[in-house]
Amino acid sequence: MSVPWIVGMMLLGFAGTAAVGLTLKWVDRKVTAMVQWRKGPPIYQPLADLAKLMGKETIIPEYARRTGFLTAPILALSATILSAAILWSINLDPAQGVVGDLIVVFYLLTIPSLAIVVGGASSGNPLAAVGASREMKLILSYELPLALVLIAAAIASGGTFSLGAIATTATPTVWTKIAMALGFIVGLLCIQAKLGLVPFDQAEAETELMGGVYCEYSGPPLAMFYLTRAMLHAVLPCLLVTVFWGALTQGVLHAIVWVVLFLVAVVVITLVRNTNPRVRIDHAMKFFWYGLTPVALVAVVLALIGSAQ
């Protein structure tokens, strides 16, 4: 990895992901509108939201912890840009990875959720504090199955934690292929919670918690959280497709399937969000621990069987 490559990937990680993420945010809202039989917002809508928020006043509540309140959005945004840069780099040239970058991306993608917890807890609002505690519980519940399916992918491609190797190694047997498909489905449900979308939006429940963790945020800090969430909307499906299908640049047919899988993932997330009610936080934890974790374990076992053959 040369210095110009890293700088280029960082720029692409910010500008490219922001462009793709804001467009996907519009796709999300447009599909929602279509499901509800209405017209929906114009394509520049997320950009207008962002411009508006950047031009508004920043209010710091009297009882807020100023440092934590203001650094949390920056932390979330920078971690998202970093993970996006790594994923762009792997997808454009799989040879450019470092050892263990899967683990790096996994932990970088935990930081936005933790930053939301920090921001909510430091805003000095009881509703935001409840939201922060719920977000923490959600992190505890979805990280386990997500980590397990990523481990299954690592086992299936020869026990390496290098994202470049995982993204280029063809899964050897039918068992590992089933494990990959299971992993993709479990991963989709986990990123639903990671994105904080219905049915797993307990941390920001509009009707009960007044926006929960975002309750006290206004103006540019809220714009940063908005941009972070838009970028995560692109980064998380991209991670799943990269891990369970492969890197983008491996032939034209492979790239077409990559794009189709990516769009399917985005639309499925939106459809799930539109056809489900918000579940209670304990139900969400039970769903992830007792529902998805066994499925993820099955994926790990299948990957072990498949790679031992």
């Binding site: 809202r29 509108a33 509800q36 039989w37 209405r38 017209k39 929906g40 917002p41 114009p42 520049y44 809508q45 207008a48 939201d49 962002l50 411009a51 508006k52 928020l53 950047m54 031009g55 508004k56 006043e57 920043t58 209010i59 509009e206 009707t207 918690l209 007044m210 926006g211 975002y214 309750c215 006290e216 945020y217 206004s218 103006g219 809220l222």
Partner: protein, 148 residues
Amino acid sequence: MNWKLWGLTKSPWVYHVNTGACNNCDIEILDCLTPRFDIERFGMLLVPSPRQADALLVTGGVTMQAKPRLQEVYRQAAKPCIVLCIGACACSMGVFAECYHMVGPVDKVVREIDPNAIIAYVPGCPPKPEAIISGAIAGLQAAAAALS
């Protein structure tokens, strides 16, 4: 028009405040959110917290109990934030004008704490959803003109 005002007119997030309405205007506001009227076409979203609001949809002439609360919600909103008086009561206290518990129409109560507040009026008992949408758009354009 600069980009801030462009954003403000294209993405007004609204927060619903009831200061003693009979619930009729509130039902009409909820109608605006239904697929038939679809105010998301204009980028309007109902936000859960006044901190994120660009327009306060106020219904009802202000009662004694509601007055400090309306003023507090207006203080909490991040500026620039316009106030939309929805319905005859919010505009002029309507049929409740002579009642002992009314402390004034919305504009008077809001101007007590911010003399330069941008206030738009949508009269009617209740106003139609079309009138509310038209009033919101006109109010925002007037606000953009006033702020530029």
